[in-house]
Symmetry: C3
Subunit: 170 residues, 3 copies
């Protein structure tokens, strides 16, 4: 439905490239251009592209939403279910309820996005996952989903790949 | 109440057994046979058995639910509280509300389990914990709890043990 | 508003100080004295102090709430928003609803704190984050927030710092 976001790989942070002793810690940033107020984007393939590039023998990954009104979580990426998740979030945290964060007498925030903050809090900002066979060790129906909760905007996601490269012992 | 699930340790994934440079990354899979639609299982002892076997001097663990309608979370494992958690999840995400994922015109899923997906999303699919003295570094009252939200079925949980083995420097 | 908690650094756990092969796994405990029943404390600066002390070239961090009625999560630390989060938690998990955990016929817990357990479960007990440039790799508006949900009490938070020290290769 709303999947035509622009994706862009930023170059990795140089200072975190190498650990001694064989274990690497690398952080890369993925950028997404969301197109709607609330949008759920399947980022599994992008994450796996980065993991594969590192050629790990064994390792793990941290995925981190870099904004307070975005989130990352795991679920089945099916369009009907994504629409259910959006309507559930809209119902459980009402956009038009009274929120102090939206009240100009109490807050300097002019985005009126208290509901976006609370929805992100419920979904969470970081997940960690094992790496196996050069890919995220996800279950059959599991995808890593990025949640835009106050778009449209350009947003960033960190992926840190930690592990031992395949080439190390040869 | 519903605790007679069958537990079974699967052999570890061979490709992720060793890191060079001293740090090991090992993934093992635990299997549970749930007996009810919604069931909360204390898996702390099983996790600690695996951690202990690795004989780590220092390390960490990732615990991962491998299904979209199961979850892992931390809390006190008391039966009255487990019943409260189940009734809370039933109330906050109604099974019989209208969900697109359950609508045959919009979805091929015939399990009608939208509520299970949403409840799993609220609890979360991965947690990471330090290892200390050869065990999970949990607080006094903390247990790691596996949530079956669309059972009864056989379900898998990943545990990745990362760290430096005791025997390394000797 | 309620920020005068006492903070105290405990000495690190000796057994987890060193990994061989260059990667260190260190666990430290932060103690906070909360002053209210529900209180949200910005612990980002304390965490970064510990991370900086380790002098990592590259690494990651696990932050863990050590109690079943406290939590850790990420969001913008703005007072109006913190008040919104508190009132949201109070509304979504009613303290005076019927909970089995609060019923003396079913539970030995005399704190009547079922709602605190459920609120902590929604926020979560562990987060993992990359370390970059000797600090948590947080987004511009992101803070790590400790949630006291059944205070006032003295509470502990684990921070595990994992990584390769700056001095390693010289």
């Amino acid at each position: 439905m709303s999947a035509t976001q622009t994706k862009e790989f930023r170059s990795p942070e140089k200072e975190s490239e190498n650990g001694s002793g064989g274990v690497q810690f690398r952080v890369e940033t993925l950028a997404y251009k969301s197109r709607e107020r609330m949008e759920l984007i399947n980022i599994t393939r992008d994450l796996n592209e980065i993991v594969k590039k590192q050629g790990l023998k064994a390792g793990m990954v941290i995925v981190q939403s870099l904004h307070t009104t975005t989130a990352v979580f795991i679920n089945e990426f099916q369009q009907a279910l994504m629409d259910d998740i959006k309507s559930f979030l809209e119902r459980i945290v009402g956009k038009f309820d009274y929120w102090r964060h939206n009240d100009p007498r109490l807050s300097e925030c002019d985005r009126k996005n208290a509901a976006s903050h609370l929805r992100a809090m419920l979904l969470g900002h970081t997940i960690s996952l094992p790496v196996q066979n050069g890919a995220l060790a996800l279950g059959n129906w599991q995808s890593v989903i990025f949640a835009e909760l106050d778009g449209p905007r350009t947003r960033n996601v960190h992926i840190q790949v930690i592990g031992v490269p395949e080439t190390q012992d040869e």
